[in-house]
């Protein structure tokens, strides 16, 4: 049976620099585990060197004698001696764990070392034939580590007490998840920081897959340096996905995004929550070389964020969520220009904390005109807009979009121009194959023809939407799959009170001409939120009657007990024999 990894040996990377006041910030001291030599790394410029970086002379010369690693057992602590004079060139006494006594005279900086430990991947070991299959106790170690990877790190660390075998299993975990408020509800930041450092010290896996951090910073520089260090360690260990959210607990100081993420070569996914965080200027070129996925949440953005997206040259999946709080500064504006050539998926959404105070609404009107979203992405395939005010939104090169999902939001300020803007937007994306629309407060006459549309999903919220549906069906000649979601409060009340006749707008009149797609292409229809009302049945019967190519109709309803009734009703239709109608319980 192959042992995929060994448990013996000290941790592979010792982080020396944190407690070394003689090293200038942001330099860190590291031990090369294969040779034992001490060398220095600058996370902001990615320079490694053997020579100690020049340090400023301290006014108070002192000799540091305390052990910088109080959490390690005494025999494990490296014996560090610091000179009170200006640091001398490297000699053996400076190298804590030194296998060979040779003094390095190399001038060239060493490359970061990867120790060839076979840390586990998710593939299991090959089983032998005839082995006794008692699967529970024989879950392979790598599978257990994979399961532990999905836990918050503090929970994974706690598994050390389970048994001797489990004692060190957590150190091979590849995803880290630290959350100050979840892991330490008592808010003791000092202990949280010690814990994070402990984890980094003991972690054996050299490649971190995912690093998630939620941390609150106070209003002084030293506090924020922890985040800088931790992100640097993650970058050093080839992090692939980074998820950062830093709360600020006191105003007056802006935290800064750690600079070490800019040049990280392995970073593919970045998720940021930007709320009062300053974005430092990136290096002029070569930053974020492999970043493919970026999800950003912006709270109360200002104009400095407008050029944020120029830093990400190869991003393919971009999602921006803008949240405007009511304390938003009414006079600042921002222009967000998305012009990344490789962009394939874009999601923009906007959320405003609205007050029920109409005065506030008027004030928003003033600011609205100053925020602009400009999207220029020739390869864009998937577009998802959620409640973006249309007057500030420009989409260049929209013809490549294949899937689009638009949730409109009409604002009082835009009422008059809304239909035109919507028409403009929809015309731009009229080549789509799959379209999903909701909240469309405009007339159907303002719609272009969607020649390529295969799949359509519509959320119908009020009764005039039925005419909209009919008109839209006229404009989608090649439609094959229709998905309707009925979310209508009025209908809900009507159903409750049972007085359908009291609501004249609930009567549905069939359109004069049968839509082309219904008679020639439409194959599947699904209706969610069916309530069994009279006119809903009328619509269903109309579709069944005229849908010559209809294969399957699926109706999701929360009232399955009435299924018998519906079935009997529809049985009277002969058309039903060639089309399969199915009633399912609505789960969502």
């Amino acid at each position: 049976m192959v042992e995929p990894f060994s448990f013996t040996g000290p941790p592979s990377i010792i982080w020396v620099g944190r407690y070394d006041p003689t090293l200038p910030r942001p330099w860190k001291g590291l031990i090369d585990p294969s040779t034992g030599w001490l060398y220095f790394w600058n996370p902001e410029t990615n320079v490694t060197q053997y020579e100690r970086p020049s340090a400023p002379l301290y006014h108070h010369q002192f000799q540091l004698q305390q052990y910088p690693y109080p959490w390690l057992p005494r025999y494990d602590r490296p014996q560090l001696q610091y000179s009170h004079q200006y640091p001398e060139p490297l000699s053996t006494s400076h190298a804590p764990i030194c296998a060979s006594p040779c003094i390095p005279i190399a001038v060239r900086a060493p490359h970061p070392v990867t120790v060839p430990i076979n840390y586990p991947r998710y593939r299991s070991l090959i089983r032998e034939e005839g082995e006794d299959r008692d699967r529970i106790s024989e879950l392979p170690d790598d599978l257990i580590c994979h399961i532990l990877s999905f836990l918050p790190t503090i929970t994974a660390v706690r598994t050390t007490v389970l048994s001797k075998r489990w004692n060190k299993l957590w150190t091979f975990v590849r995803h880290l998840d630290f959350d100050l408020y979840r892991d330490r509800p008592d808010g003791q930041k000092y202990l949280f920081e010690r814990f994070v450092e402990f984890v980094f010290l003991r972690l054996v896996s050299l490649d971190i897959g995912k690093f998630r951090l939620r941390y609150a910073s106070a209003s002084w520089e030293g506090d924020f340096s922890h985040v800088d260090d931790w992100v640097s360690v993650a970058v050093w260990r080839n992090v692939v996905e980074l998820d950062l959210r830093i709360f600020y607990v006191a105003s007056g100081y802006l935290c800064r995004l750690p600079k070490s993420i800019f040049w990280c070569k392995t970073l593919k996914v970045l998720k940021l929550w930007i709320e009062d965080i300053a974005i430092p200027d990136p290096p002029t070129k070569g930053c974020f070389p492999s970043l493919k996925v970026l999800h950003v949440t912006l709270i109360d953005p200002d104009d400095k964020l407008g050029k944020l997206l120029s830093y990400f040259p190869v991003v393919e999946d971009l999602s921006i969520h803008v949240q405007m709080r009511y304390s938003y500064n009414f006079y600042s504006n921002f222009n967000l220009k998305v012009s990344t050539p490789e962009l394939k998926t874009l999601k923009l959404s906007m959320e405003r904390e609205e007050r029920r105070n109409y005065e506030m609404e008027r004030d928003y009107g003033g600011t609205l005109k100053q925020n602009h979203f400009c999207v220029d992405a020739p390869k864009l395939e998937n577009l998802d807009l959620v409640q973006i005010p249309l007057s500030n939104y420009i989409l260049e090169n929209p013809k490549s979009v294949v899937n689009a999902s638009i949730a409109f939001k009409s604002l009082a300020e835009e009422w008059s121009s809304f239909p035109d803007l919507a028409f403009q937007l929809l015309t731009g994306i009229s080549n789509v194959k799959c379209l999903s629309l909701s909240d469309h407060p405009f007339e159907a006459s303002n719609l272009p023809v969607f020649g390529n549309l295969n799949q359509l999903k519509l959320v119908l919220r009020n009764c005039s939407s039925w005419e909209f549906l009919a008109a839209l069906l006229h404009r989608t000649p090649n439609l094959e799959d229709l998905d309707l979601v009925l979310e209508d409060e009025l209908l809900f009340y009507a159903q409750r009170t049972g007085g359908e006749k009291d609501y004249p707008e609930l009567q549905w009149t069939p359109p004069e001409l049968v839509p082309n797609c219904l008679s020639s292409h439409l194959k599947t229809i699904s209706i969610r939120g069916f309530k069994g009302l009279q006119f809903e049945m009328k619509v269903v019967k109309y579709m069944l009657l005229n849908g010559c190519h209809l294969n399957k109709m699926t109706i999701y309803t929360s009232m399955l007990e009435k299924e018998e009734e519906y079935c009997r009703d529809l049985l009277s239709f002969q058309r039903v024999m060639t089309c399969q109608v199915e009633f399912r319980e609505m789960q969502f």
Binding site: W71, Y122, R123, S124, R127, E129, R133, R135, I136, S137, L139, P140, L143, I144, H146, I147, L148, S149, F150, L151, P152, I154, T155, V157, R158, T160, V161, L162, S163, R165, W166, N167, D183, R184, P185, D186, F192, F195, F198, N403, S405, L435, N454, Q455, K457, E480, D481, K523, T524, K552, C567, L570, L571, V576, Q580, E582, F583, R584, Q587, F588
Partner: protein
């Protein structure tokens, strides 16, 4: 008009926009440890990496029945169910909610032991998204439980004596503090 029943992987797929009425896809046959034979549609079978490499890299014809000696019949049924749904949802625009609802239903009636067995199977069959989902489900189960429960769950025997136990706990004191009800 009656509700359709999906109980076997060999039923024809519900007609979507692209499928023709006649199902002309090739079938792949596998046999599990307890002798049950399954006919898989090609596109579902190709989601299972171990089957994919078996047939594609060695260019074995589809006539061969592939043996899966480490997989039980019921596990195969579940794996097929998940892979079929995954293939179906791949083509949909807005399948997020549907996927979540399906996942909740998938693990609803599984005992923990079956869940672990299924995780092992997914690992062996090399279906990455199923493995990730099942590991996530297992980790949800141990998130807020105490030591004894987790020991029983995984069949782990406590081989620490009291002294060693205290020593292990003392290595990372803040991690073991009684903060939530978590593994304490």
């Amino acid at each position: 008009m009656s509700t359709s029943t999906d109980n076997n992987a060999s039923i024809t797929q519900e007609s979507g926009p692209s499928a023709a009425v006649q199902d002309i896809q090739k079938k792949i046959v596998v046999r599990t440890a307890d002798g049950e034979v399954f006919n898989l549609k090609e596109e579902v079978a190709m989601e299972i990496d171990i089957i994919k490499t078996f047939f594609q890299e060695d260019s074995i014809s589809y006539e061969t029945v592939m043996p899966l000696p480490n997989v039980e019949g019921w596990e195969m049924v579940k794996v097929i169910e998940y892979c079929t749904k995954h293939v179906e949802l791949k083509h949909k625009v807005d399948g997020y909610k549907e996927r979540k609802a399906f996942q909740a239903l998938f693990v609803q009636n599984l005992s923990t032991k079956s869940l672990l067995a299924l995780t092992n199977t997914a690992n062996y069959l090399e279906v990455k998204y199923l493995l990730d989902f099942l590991c996530q489900a297992v980790s949800e189960q141990i998130k807020n439980k105490d030591v004894d429960y987790v020991r029983e769950l995984f069949g782990v025997e406590n081989d620490f004596n009291d002294e060693e136990y205290e020593q292990v706990k003392a290595e990372a004191p803040w991690a073991h503090e009684n903060l939530n009800n978590d593994l304490h």
